[in-house]
Symmetry: C2
Subunit: 422 residues, 2 copies
């Protein structure tokens, strides 16, 4: 590494992993360049609340430049990585000159996987970015407006049938939030709607939802969803998606709104590395998260396949990405040669998923929680991990407001308007 | 009106005028239908703060359905008026069946006027809707990102030159806010920028800015803008706008960002009424705001040309629209025949414009205010007129936050991303 020491450490991606890595390099003598395609860090665990009109985009996103305002050794580039030249230690960018690096941390994240059916995306959008969330929010709000206009027809029923594909945390949280807004919060505003007119279905390919949780919590989560009016369909593989609905197992479910929360595939930029990828497109990394034979190129977060103690890959969680980011930043700042690196070990602090108002499940080591206790833990953890005082206050205020009034704060349609005009 | 009494009162437009009219019909026996093309009421006086990243869309907009949740006699239609058939007392909508009315209140507002040069709009967007504001916000934020990349070139200078056309309140408030964010709030985040690199020009065709205010206040506002670093050009008529800049008088000013705040023209739907319009497309109304010979069709707000005591038309202010809305609602609910109506009289409660942090001008009757006193009055009035506790808290919090930290809260780019994807 010596001859390259003057080149910066380049971090690709301003998600949880990239952010943690860049922050952990604070106070070191290394220059850092952080590259992202968007100008903000997004708190993805709350993105479903933007999609369901409970929060605004500005509540869960922070400009990267503001986050690093006082960290002098970090430079931000709003740009896109087009190619990585490992031998030359150089990356090509969409705009402007290539950039050389002394060490590279790849944290590009994941995008939706439609299991080879890319055409499904048009009829079943996923939820990864702010535009995704605003698209879903707008479709949902327009559905109620349209249902009011075409009331009583079969179209009206389709308009108010929401199908969520995938029973992981994102799917469960979306289903719960949609049930609350669709079956409770919206009904006072739409004379034609009753609590039962809005149908929400959650389709899971496996035998239970929230498979990362213990079986008892999966069951409790499913029961909570069902009490909210969500129909949970298990062991149903999606065979087809089109504009009329979704073929789940043998049954075709008519719906104007299918949302995809089923699969992830790591960023396509990784294929340019010329190294083995797993079936989800993730890089098979060494125990120190570097590439074999390339000790100063690290891959972290949703883009990395890092085996856990049990042999399974580590899950795509913010906590994993953050710990990985801090670990690789430590290796780089201390210049630890590959043969002297202790392998990365993930310290599992627990997992949480919320289902609705005062309903959640949580697993902290041997401790299983559900109901209002888990929900309070969920609220606390999410507020705590939000970055900055401003966003903590805003999100807390919105939650208390929504809890008390059942009036979601961000029920605005302005997205489609824009589409019409361009 | 008797034979039509069972038909609803139809209100077109959910702006200040339409909202005030529909609210004033609360508790009467008349059914009300409120039609708008968007699902929200927008607090337009603060729209420039969304355009300059200080506030989020959700802070200054409210779903119309939530606003009227408890007013049982109001029905909301998210729809667009395509034609008005006065003789049949019927209006055609974009979606669904025509609707008959017993009385009609037209409050469709105004859009930008480019004085016959519609092609200028592409290079000089205006500021009327949330999409407009997000478009300007994104252009501004991208300008700083791009300037950082192309620093030192003539392109960089153009990227950081903002020209605002029109020295009315919107233009003045935009210029002041842009100067604050561009010359103060952004500089710590962009290593290449200095306070002086960002140029803001305000172009006014007449001899002074804020012509609705007394001369002394116009002068003081101009001096405040200049202290913030805004160049104010008076007596300059815009001759041309293109992608390179704007021809103002004899001088061509290179700029990648021209914003239009110069002229309004009333909604095009008014031309289908077949009645005389003024040069701004406004309907020449009777002293009771109705049409001659059509006593139950009223036009209010920016769409109406209603002469003031001095003979000039009343200005396009929220206060005018709201008083007009309440006046016509009173005529309708009390069924006052045209010959017994007292003419509408606008009670002028004062005008305000803000220039920047702790800088504003205000005129209340004979009382002229400027500086921090006017600014506090401005803050108080705007918080007071915001609808609902939630928005008051959010906006107040954002203002205090920005005042203390100079970190604008809504510096997000996600709009262009969307354009790319569609």
């Amino acid at each position: 590494m010596e001859q390259h020491r003057r080149d910066p450490v380049v971090v690709v991606g301003g998600g949880f992993g990239g952010l943690a890595a860049a922050r952990a390099l604070q106070g070191t003598l290394r220059d850092v360049v952080l590259i992202d395609r968007v100008n903000h860090h997004l708190f993805q665990p709350l993105l479903y609340q933007v999609a369901t009109a409970a929060l605004s985009p500005g509540d869960i996103a922070w400009p990267l430049r503001t986050l690093f305002r006082s960290q002098r050794n970090v430079r931000i580039l709003l740009n896109e990585v087009m190619a990585i030249h490992r031998a030359a230690r150089r990356i090509d960018l969409r705009d402007g000159d290539p950039i050389s690096y002394s060490a590279l941390i790849l944290a590009p994240g994941a995008c939706h996987s439609y299991f080879g059916h890319a055409a499904w995306e048009a009829d079943a959008p996923g939820l990864k970015t702010l535009p995704d969330a605003l698209e879903i929010r707008e479709r949902m709000l327009m559905a109620f407006e349209k249902a009011e206009r075409v009331k009583g027809t079969p179209d009206a029923l389709d308009e108010l049938t929401f199908v969520i594909v995938g029973g992981g945390p994102t799917g469960v949280e979306l289903a719960g939030a949609l049930a609350e807004i669709g079956r409770k919060a919206m009904t006072p505003d739409f004379p034609v709607l009753r609590e039962t007119t809005c149908r929400i279905l959650l389709i899971e390919g496996g035998p239970r939802i929230l498979e990362a949780f213990p079986l008892a919590l999966s069951r409790r989560a499913q029961a909570s969803l069902e009490r909210l009016g969500v129909t949970v369909l298990l062991n149903r593989r999606v065979q087809d998606v089109n504009s009329k609905g979704v073929l789940a197992g043998e049954e075709f479910i008519r719906s104007a709104h299918v949302i995809w929360a089923a699969g992830n595939v790591a960023s396509p930029i990784l294929s340019s590395l010329g190294v083995p990828l797993d079936s989800s497109g993730r890089v098979m990394v060494e125990p120190d998260l570097s590439l074999r034979g390339d000790p100063w190129l690290f891959v972290i977060g949703d883009a990395a396949h890092c085996p856990s103690a049990e042999g399974k890959p580590l899950p795509g969680l913010a906590a994993v990405a953050m710990q990985e980011g801090r670990y690789v930043a430590g290796m780089i700042s201390r210049g630890v040669p590959p043969e002297r690196r202790a392998p990365f070990v993930y310290r599992d602090r627990g997992i949480l998923a919320t289902i609705g108002r005062a309903k959640a499940v949580a697993q902290f080591g041997p401790l299983s929680l559900s109901g209002i206790v888990a929900w309070l833990a969920w609220c606390f953890v999410h507020i705590f991990f939000l970055i900055g005082f401003r966003n903590r206050v805003r999100v807390m205020f919105e939650w208390i407001w929504y809890y008390l009034t059942f009036k979601p704060g961000a029920r605005l349609i302005y997205w489609k308007e824009r589409i019409k005009r361009t």
